[in-house]
Symmetry: C2
Subunit: 124 residues, 2 copies
Amino acid sequence: MTDGFSAVDARGYHYRLLATLAESGPASQATLGRRSGIHLSDMVATVNELAARDLVRRSPDPTDRRRNVISLTPAGTRQLARLEQQLAAAQDELLAPLSTTQRQDLTAVLSLLLDHHDQRAAEE
Amino acid sequence: MTDGFSAVDARGYHYRLLATLAESGPASQATLGRRSGIHLSDMVATVNELAARDLVRRSPDPTDRRRNVISLTPAGTRQLARLEQQLAAAQDELLAPLSTTQRQDLTAVLSLLLDHHDQRAAEE
DNA sequence: CAAATTTCAGCTCTACTGAGATTC
DNA sequence: CGAATCTCAGTAAAGCTGAAATTT
């Protein structure tokens, strides 16, 4: 498989971080970790790798010197678009044997599971 | 999560190998790898670990000196029963929010996907 | 000789723990 | 002072690759 991601560049963490930035905008690494589900320790390396390719920018937060503000660059936005294409292609191949109704059922049931367990995790 | 497996002892490879042995009986490591989907390189370590705890036995095949015949011990059979209990409990918790019908639908759809892609993999 | 079997060393990716330094 | 933030080192499980030795 290798999901087609490796062809464009990257691994799952890269996509998840870029997608999170595109969805909810610039934020500190800690906040991005909470939003994306990426562990803080892995966040450091992920930002390093993306920043080295100018896909994200890491700038100090003027209001709180503990924080870095991470933001998408134009190149990062373009890369995200590429990754989303790859992802859509891989999903199409994965779900090929399913009818439209079956696909909808599957995502509905999986969403149920995610919601349920997210809630249980938040309540600990 | 840690699936409850860690409580009893083991990791996924241990369960998969024990279950494969229980299902289709003693076999060489290469055959077990094909049946269980465990990579041959990982097979060696998995058998080592289970043999060290007397859960499986590794004996030379008298008809082909390249092969080891791996077989379940009585202790291995008991351990498998324990792992299956843990697995059932973990599944129950995972699928808790789903109705019986939803569970059946989910396994049906996932089986479709597995069959489809197993076939494609076999045809390369 | 070609193919099968076992073994070993090493690598990637996701995910985590624990510890330290800095700043609020 | 306690808490939050970032960083680094290390670990584990699942899944690979590649190479070597032996036997068929």
